[in-house]
């Protein structure tokens, strides 16, 4: 069961990589990435070429999911991901790109050192739990979050062009919405103490990310975090 869930995690993660690569290819097609090498250290057309290579590599990783070759393929994908930081320069979808890289590194080392596989997978799980809990701690310390002002500000930020249904705010205040979010994030580590809570918290977390996509357009967060849930189930529930 545990191995099966780990494989589901890998499939979801690689699927997320496939979707992200397709999105990035669209951007490369839209705007010619032809800055001279002295600006970026990257040769012309390399970004497009190296991004295109990722597609067959992801396919190969899915085919060789149970093979020793998976480590090599993941190593190549990790190298491409690291190299892309050279020309992308800024985070795509904020923290999701950092977490993406962390998962790549952990999975690569898990395959490289099969004896320590559990340690690397556990590190991913730890970071998932911390991602909710620390985010909650950081938020609750700000008066702006406790009063709901920050939530309202985020929804008005031009970067997101938020589509927030006004009916929701008519029924429930930003302050109440803020506290629902804060309580959810702060109480997330309870799932470690009481694994049965996973069946409440994981659907709630998935719904939270889905709402984030619908309102703010953050679809990358959705797939990266969702992909790790089978790992959480494998360690705490089974």
């Amino acid at each position: 069961m545990k191995i099966l869930l780990q494989e589901v995690f890998l499939c979801l993660f690689l699927g997320a990589q496939f979707l992200q690569t397709c999105e990035w290819l669209t951007l490369l097609k839209r705007v010619p990435w032809s800055l001279p090498p002295r600006h970026t250290g990257v040769q012309k057309n390399w970004p497009l070429f190296l991004t295109l290579i990722k597609i067959p590599l992801i396919m190969l990783a899915l085919i060789f999911l149970r093979s020793q070759l998976l480590g090599v393929i993941l190593g190549l994908l990790l190298a491409l991901e690291l190299y892309s930081c050279k020309w992308v320069r800024v985070p795509l979808n904020g923290a999701s790109s950092g977490f993406n890289l962390l998962i790549y590194i952990c999975v690569f080392f898990a395959k490289l050192f099969p004896d320590s596989e559990n340690f690397f997978y556990f590190y991913i799980i730890l970071q998932v739990v911390l991602s909710y809990f620390i985010a909650g701690i950081v938020k609750v310390r700000h008066e702006g979050w406790r009063s709901g002002v920050f939530l309202e500000s985020f929804l008005q930020m031009k970067a997101y062009a938020a589509d927030f249904p006004k009916k929701v705010v008519q029924r429930i205040s930003f302050r109440q919405l803020s506290w629902i979010l804060l309580l959810f994030e702060l109480s997330f580590p309870l799932v470690i103490v009481q694994p049965k809570l996973f069946f409440i918290y994981l659907p709630a977390a998935a719904a939270f990310h889905a709402i984030n996509f619908k309102v703010l357009g953050l679809n990358r967060f959705f797939w990266i975090w969702i992909s790790t849930y089978p790992l959480l189930i494998s360690y705490f529930v089974t």
Partner: protein
């Protein structure tokens, strides 16, 4: 080294506080005889559920805003000029695509934070005739003809 540390030990300061949000104004030589500034606005849009799989539009906008934040940071810190120019030129290229500006010649761009505390202005470096030919140019001082 710091970057590696932040990858292995993420701070998880997700949405801890709203950052700078910029209003974008452009001015082109042929936009009006008085060279008025025009604000570029992205209207809110309803996202379809299928976009949860494939959403390059929002990715592009978020990338564009990240570029604005980075450029603003470089200008404020007066950091390495080449890096600043990279962000400026990348920003211009993406701006022209997102706002469908076909001829970016003599395009002036002005970024201003929502609260009006910070303003950055620069002239486009993109030659519309040869978009592959990027060239360096000093960033001019602030124009006095700022938008209200």
């Amino acid at each position: 080294m710091t970057q590696w540390f932040s990858i292995f030990f993420p701070a998880w300061k997700l949405f801890d506080r709203p950052g700078d949000s910029y209003r974008i104004f452009v001015q082109t030589s042929d936009s009006s005889p008085h060279f008025e500034w025009a604000e570029l606005i992205r209207p809110p849009r309803r996202r379809k559920w299928r976009e949860i799989f494939f959403n390059p539009n929002d990715l592009h906008w978020l990338y564009f805003h990240s570029l604005m934040n980075e450029l603003s940071l470089r200008i404020t810190e007066k950091s390495f000029e080449e890096a600043q120019l990279f962000f400026q030129q990348a920003l211009e290229a993406h701006l022209c695509f997102l706002f469908e500006i076909e001829s970016p010649k003599n395009l002036k761009i002005l970024l201003r934070t929502e609260d009006g505390q910070m303003t950055h202005q620069f002239i486009s470096d993109i030659d519309p005739a040869r978009p592959e030919k990027w060239h360096l140019r000093k960033i001019p001082p602030l124009n006095k003809q700022e938008p209200q």
